[in-house]
Every structure is written in structure tokens, then in C-alpha cells.
């Protein structure tokens, strides 16, 4: 451990190009710093490429990159990719929206009333101990293998983090805000919409983002276990036919969509959080 982060932060903070004084060595250093993250992916990819083209790896174990790409293009051309992606997305959106709405409602009502909280929260906490996957066989028996199963599981996956973060956000509002609201003789409704909710917004936003990642994960799981359509099903289907190129193509699409939506929510969260902070300065 010759160059530890601590060492660096003690000696010279971050190797950042200093404005104004930009010699060639400085440029070379910046360039090297920029290239570093690509070393591992490029290395892995070239190993994969070399392995498959020289026949070190059997295609049944790891198909060649161009094969995966071809399959992906084939899927896109035939329309299978779009129809399955659309099915998966609509499932996750319905479940996520339902779960988030219910979670906001439940979390805020628990947050506003300690009496309700003392009745409901222990049961809620007990049910939370059972992961979504535990409910799957139960719901499978109860509602069958159709769309409601997917909506329920995805909704439940989203409900839990939204409820808990909303509750936490409501509880975290500083006592001073309540005092100010008291002075202005705010009604209960005003208290919620103008004081508590804005104060809780950053925490809720984090919860909603977490809820989406969980909903997306639940979608993949439920499609892997019990589905005949969707991206998760494509993965299972490819696995059954031993078409690993199909499996990998579907995994790539699942990863890409999850990543893009997570980025979007992250940006939204940042914006909401900033807005909320600005609002507080008005107090």
C-alpha cells in the first residue's frame, strides 16, 4: 500500500489538473488518470474476444462477443426485444407506481399519528422480515401466475422502502419548524403540506429511488421464476435452450435499463433535494 488515499490527502490532495499551469507532464498525468478506469473492461473484453476466437473457451460456456451482439441485433430486428422490454417495463411501472403511492400514504399516516404507528408498525416490521421472495410461492397459489402476481410482488418490493423512508422523513423534521408553524397557527393540513412534507422530501426521494431498484430486482426475479414473457423470461428461455448468447444479450438489456432509470431517478433526487434545501432557507 505505497500510495494510500490518506497519504495523498495529507501530501497533495487530488491529482487534479491545476488551472493555468498546464505543462505537458500535467497533461500526460491527466490523460493517464482518464484512461485508468477503462483498463479492466478493455482487458476483460479482449480476454473474452481472444478466448473465443482462439477456441480456449467453448461457446457453450461463453459465446463470442460478436455472437452476443448479433443475437442482440436479431432480437431488436425481429421485435422480440421491444415487445419483451415493453412488457417488463409496464409491469415494473404499474407495480412501482402502486407500491410507491401506497407507501407514501402509509408512511405519512404513520408519520402523522403516533397512535396509528403504535398499532401498525410492529405488524409492518414483522412482515418486512419476510423478503419478497418468501411471498412468491404464497401469492403464486393465491392469485395464480398471471399479471396480478407480478404487480403485487413488485408493488410490495417498492412499498417497504417508501413507507419506511416516508416515516423516517416525517419524524426527522426539526422541532423548530413545528414551533414556527405553531406561531403561524397552521392547520393540520397546512402543517403537512407546507412544513413536514417539504422537510421530509429528501429522505422520501432516497426511499423512492431505492424502491425502484428493488422493484426492478423483483421484476427480474418474478420473471425468472414465473413468467412466459418479459426480459427475465428471455434469460430463462435462453438458458433452457443453452443459448448463452441470448442469455447474455438479455442480461445486458436488463442491466442497461436498470442503470439508465437509476441515473434518471438519481438526477431527479438531486434536483428535489436541492429544491427542498432552498425552500428551507426561506424559514
Amino acid at each position: 500500500m505505497s500510495d494510500t488515499a490518506i497519504e495523498r490527502s495529507l501530501a497533495h490532495p487530488a491529482p487534479r489538473p491545476t488551472e493555468g499551469r498546464r505543462g505537458w507532464t500535467e497533461y500526460a498525468r491527466t490523460l493517464r488518470w482518464q484512461i485508468l478506469p477503462f483498463i479492466v473492461p478493455v482487458l476483460l473484453f479482449s480476454l473474452w474476444l481472444a478466448g473465443s476466437s482462439f477456441g480456449w473457451i467453448a461457446p457453450q460456456v461463453l459465446p463470442a462477443p460478436h455472437l452476443v451482439l448479433e443475437t442482440l441485433l436479431d432480437l431488436a430486428r425481429s421485435g422480440d426485444l421491444w415487445s419483451n422490454t415493453w412488457i417488463s417495463l409496464s409491469r415494473v411501472l404499474v407495480g412501482f407506481a402502486g407500491g410507491t403511492a401506497l407507501g407514501l400514504l402509509l408512511g405519512s399516516s404513520l408519520g402523522m399519528s403516533r397512535t396509528l404507528e403504535s398499532y401498525v408498525l410492529p405488524s409492518f416490521n414483522a412482515l418486512v422480515q419476510i423478503p419478497v421472495l418468501g411471498w412468491l410461492p404464497f401469492l403464486l397459489l393465491l392469485v395464480g401466475i398471471g399479471e396480478p402476481l407480478k404487480y403485487l410482488l413488485i408493488g410490495q418490493a417498492a412499498l417497504v422502502p417508501v413507507t419506511l423512508s416516508t416515516l423516517q422523513g416525517f419524524r426527522q423534521a426539526p422541532a423548530a419548524y413545528y414551533e414556527v408553524a405553531d406561531v403561524f397557527r397552521y392547520s393540520r393540513w397546512q402543517l403537512i403540506t407546507e412544513v413536514v412534507f417539504p422537510a421530509a422530501l429528501p429522505t422520501i426521494a432516497t426511499g423512492v429511488r431505492l424502491a425502484f431498484t428493488k422493484a426492478w430486482l423483483a421484476l427480474v426475479v418474478v420473471e425468472l421464476v414465473a413468467s412466459s414473457q418479459g426480459l427475465g423470461y428471455l434469460i430463462v428461455y435462453g438458458r433452457q435452450l443453452f443459448q448463452l448468447d441470448l442469455v447474455m444479450a438479455a442480461v445486458i438489456v436488463v442491466g442497461a435499463i436498470g442503470y439508465v432509470i437509476d441515473r434518471l431517478l438519481n438526477a431527479l433526487e438531486a434536483r428535489l433535494t436541492r429544491g427542498a434545501r432552498r425552500a428551507f432557507r426561506a424559514f
Binding site: 495523498r8 403516533r114 410492529p122 409492518f124 419476510i130 397459489l141 423512508s165 423483483a218
Partner: protein, 288 residues
Amino acid sequence: MAHAADFELTPPAIDADRAGHTKPTRTPTSTSTSTSTSTAPRRWRGAVLPLLALAVWWGVSATDISRSGLLVSPQQVVHTGIEQIASGALWRALSASLARELTGFALGTAGGLVLGGLLGFSRLAERVLGPSFNTFKQISLFAWIPLISVWFGLGDAAKVVFLSLAALLPVVAHVSDGIRNVSPELLEVARVYRYTRWQVVVRVVLPAALPSVFTGIYLALIYSWLATLGAEYLLVAGSGIGNMLIDGSEQFRMDLVLFGIVVIGIVGWALNASARLLERRLFAHRSR
């Protein structure tokens, strides 16, 4: 649910616990009056809903409102439970699941500590490996199962690989975060005292990063339990508590499924509680 992509929020169980037990930051008149007038002790209130649900369930299953075979009575679930325990089937399934869970957890945590430490201490390693790691953890963990099953089969090896992966991700994320977020003031103090690099690591960085490290390990425990279920659903060879549930579902035995859910809940709770107890012991000397 475990998702590798996001470890920023503390897990639900902790949140719920803290949200429930933190001292109120205020005492609004409306709610404080409602609590003071109620005579029922708060401890018992939580039992109202479950008892009510149980009573309704009991009542509905006792009458002939529904003739669905899926509507099993509470007695039947208890009976199935006793049967499963007496025949040893539960113990076999549970021990198989827990053994895998703990193996995967141990391997994943050990790997995660090393990798997370590397990413936390070395800026170079962080730059080289960090982006790849972050991209990797974005991909839904369960999507790897079909590939893992091709590479490692359907047996214990594949499951343990998957569980280790599930445990590895949160540990890496939290250990590296914990190390990198050590406050600069602490490092300045260390410099004033002319600590050697080793002393800085052992006396300053590691103690400061410990809570975050513990959160990572805690999450790893929860996630690997979740992944155990997922692995047993998807890699169906062998026995385990997940197989028990899937079997119950395939045989339309609601009593078995419900009993399995209760067992899963209890195990999850026990893992949670023991981790929290350990945390409290470890950090008892710290003022929160």
C-alpha cells in the same frame, strides 16, 4: 429486497426499528393528548392487528364461506409445522440453507473486506477498479443466476458462488466508503502527532470506518439470506427452505407454504436481531 445497486440507505429493518424507537423531536399537542388519554400500554397495541387478522382467518376457515382448498385453517398450519419439525424435514432443509448461507456470507465478506479495503485505501485501485465495480453492481444480481448455473451447475457450488457475490457487493461498497469518508480533521490530528502510516491506518482510519464496515457486513448477512431463497428457487437441485416452499406451491399445499413463510420470517428476524445485538455490543462505548 437486496439490490446490489444501492446501499446508501440503511436496511429496512434498522430503519423501522430506529423510526419506531427514536425519541420524538417534538410533542405536538394533538398526538400527545391522544397518547396520554389512552390507557392501553403501548407495548400491547402492536399485538392488536395480528390477533385481529388471526381471529378473522380462524373465523373464515371455520365457516363454510369459501370452499377453496387454498383456504387452510391456522390449526392445519400449526399441525403441518409440528409434522415437519417431528419428521426432521424442517431441520434438514433449514440446516442445508443456513450452511450455504453462512458459507457464502463468510466467503463474500472476506473477499469484500479485501477488495473494499483496497478500493478505500488506494486511490489508484479505486480509479482502476471502481467504475467497473459500479457498473457490475448495477446489473440485477439475480440475472446472473442462469449464467452461474451454466458455469457451475445446479448444485451447492453454484449456490455458494451466487451467495458470495450477493454478500460481496454491499461489503465492498461500505468498506471503501467508510475508509474514504474518514474526516480530514482526524487525519490532521494524526499528522500533528506524527503517526506513521501504519498507526494512521490502525488507530485512526479503521476505528472511524468501523460503523460503515459493520453496516456492510450486516447488509451482506441480510442479502445472502435473501439470495439463499432466490438461489433455491432458481437452482432447484438439492434441499433447502426455498425448495420446501416451491414444493408446497407446486403441490398446492398452502399449509406448507405458510409454514415456510413463517420459518423464513423467523430466520430473517433472528439474523437481524443477532447482528444488531453484536453491533450494540461492539459500539457500546461509542456515544451515538
